[in-house]
């Protein structure tokens, strides 16, 4: 029920914005590269909010004038809404321009794709906010769902196939022996899990694996793993959840 008597209400929520990761401090080159991106997808970038990420730049000790970059971004139609990875002076400059500073997590829902620049690329920005579903062997069509949230797979994951989800991964079909499923978040398998399942691959120790029928070759959360040899009879072939507790993998039956 909406409380109509009060003036306002605070709710928790997430606001998605592309993150602009900079690799060079040359403002002219950055603007050129951005204009090129904009020309590829003008609708996507029109009035887009943007978070500026200076971590790479500062790693290389390349100083950047935050005032200049923000002015440039505003001029070509972006709304800079945040800064991360800046040094003290850069943070101060940003605050002066009413740009909030993000000092928190190491891993965010960044939509930046691709490796560090080997060619003359000054900024990298994906043209659409899709989850990069990296599939090295034989990719299963994994339709990118809403932002960096969840990847849903409805077909069987066969031996030799690999699926990578940058968020949570939900699989409705069986995962065969010799298949590999990986997620930065949680993994749910509402069927038989015979392959390898690795949750929290970027170190998220709170990630969990849920599966309907555990027969996995290997299960891992944030690097801690167990092979099928270590799976006890009690949990084998049962619906379980798997989580980390004091660096120990706990496999617990879901009643």
């Amino acid at each position: 029920m909406l409380n109509t008597s009060s003036v306002l209400e605070f709710k928790s929520g997430t606001f998605f914005a592309p993150i602009l990761v900079l690799f060079k401090h040359d403002i002219v080159a950055i603007e050129e590269a951005l204009q090129e991106k904009i020309s590829l997808a003008p609708e996507f970038f029109k009035d887009s909010p943007l978070v500026i990420d200076l971590r790479e730049l500062n790693k290389q000790n390349q100083d950047l004038d935050v005032v200049q970059i923000i002015q440039m971004l505003r001029r070509i139609g972006f709304f800079p809404v945040g800064l991360r990875g800046g040094n003290e002076q850069q943070n101060r400059q940003a605050r002066a321009l009413s740009i909030p500073i993000d000092t928190v997590r190491e891993q965010g829902n960044s939509i930046i794709i691709g490796d560090t620049p080997k060619q003359e690329i000054t900024s990298q920005l994906s043209s659409q906010p899709e989850i990069p579903v990296t599939q090295s062997a034989d990719p299963v069509a994994a339709p990118p769902t809403d932002s960096a949230a969840t990847t849903l797979i409805t077909q069987p994951v066969r031996s030799g196939q690999r699926i990578y989800a940058s968020g949570d991964l939900i699989i409705l079909s069986q995962v065969s022996a010799g298949a590999e499923i990986m997620a930065e978040g949680n993994i749910h398998v509402y069927n038989t899990l015979r392959g390898r399942a690795l949750a929290g691959v970027h170190g998220n120790t709170a990630a969990r694996i849920f599966c309907f029928d555990l027969q996995a070759e290997l299960i891992s959360i944030a690097g801690d793993y167990k092979t099928s040899e270590d799976l006890t009879k009690q949990t084998y072939k049962n619906p379980v959840q798997i989580y980390l507790q004091n660096h120990a993998l706990i496999i617990k039956e879901i009643a």
């Binding site: 062997a137 034989d138 990719p139 299963v140 069509a141 077909q155 069987p156 994951v157 066969r158 031996s159 030799g160 196939q161 069986q174 065969s176 022996a177 010799g178 298949a179 038989t192 015979r194 029928d213 084998y236 072939k237 049962n238």
Partner: protein, 270 residues
């Protein structure tokens, strides 16, 4: 337009060529103009199973390279006038196959034929990939044995991701299971995987179970597809497979032993 069927398995020696010969003959006997292509370039076998090895002049590679016309290379079967064989080259290797060339040959065949059966080589390399690339239907030939089932599972992954239908986001290849060399006695004794065990892993539409039978070897040696041996169980089983593929409902035979090896080992599911 022809329907293109690939007979595939991943693993070698499970009965792909025997199956290709049998179902191609079965489809032709049912009145459908059928071509069967040997994709095992360098290890030509299909012509032996079909008993036409002495009539091979031109082959698949000659046609791909434009050295012979399709009509020159196609061999009409002695037993059924609606069946044609396109043999593989014995002197070349799989690199002689090109996607463009295979596509061209299949296009040309599609105009004239009702069904084109592609007999895939073993493995997951070029020959096998090209045999399945253009397929509409896949017959996955599996032995009731754990490594064969694993390889079939791998093949199913490739079918669903590396075919033309997958690349074009079209309706996926229809996949059917053919369980060959099935010995219900050994299944009953727990020495062999049962149908249930195999289906637990592959979960495919079962087109038929071909029982282990001496008649398969003797038919191969005689160069007569086993489906023509109507007295043998294997021949009858293949006839069932073709009938089911063409839409007829026939109960499965030759299963018997339901108590499989895995089930015995680990106990039934709760």
């Amino acid at each position: 337009m022809a329907r293109i069927i690939v007979v595939t398995s991943g693993k070698g020696g499970v009965g792909k060529t025997t199956t290709s010969a049998a179902i191609a003959m079965g489809l032709a006997k049912a009145g459908h103009k059928t071509a069967v292509i040997d994709f095992d370039v360098g290890l030509r076998n299909l012509d032996l199973i079909l008993g036409c090895e002495r009539r091979v002049v031109y082959d698949f590679i000659n046609v791909i390279n434009g050295e012979a016309s399709l009509n020159q290379a196609l061999i009409r079967d002695k037993n059924c006038h609606l069946l044609y064989i396109l043999p593989a080259s014995q002197t070349r290797d799989k690199d002689a196959l090109t996607q463009e060339g295979v596509g061209r040959v299949l296009d040309e065949l599609s105009k004239e034929f009702d069904y084109v059966v592609c007999d895939s080589p073993a493995g997951i390399e070029k020959g096998a990939n090209l045999a399945l690339y253009f397929a509409d239907d896949a017959f996955v030939v599996t032995n009731p044995e754990i490594s064969s089932v694993r390889d079939s599972d791998r093949m199913l992954g490739i079918l669903s991701s590396k075919s033309r239908r997958a690349e074009r986001n079209e309706e996926p290849i229809k996949e059917y299971l053919l369980l060959t060399r099935y010995d219900s006695d050994r299944v009953r004794q727990g020495e062999m995987l049962g149908l249930d065990d195999v289906q637990e892993i592959l979960s495919l539409e079962l087109l038929g179970i071909i029982p282990e039978s001496k008649s398969v070897l003797s038919a191969s040696n005689a160069g007569i597809p086993v489906i023509l041996d109507e007295k043998s169980e294997a021949g009858q089983a293949y006839a069932d497979v073709v009938a089911r593929y063409l839409g007829e409902k026939r109960p499965h035979r030759f299963i018997d032993g339901k108590q499989g090896f895995l089930r015995r080992l680990f106990g039934g599911r709760k």
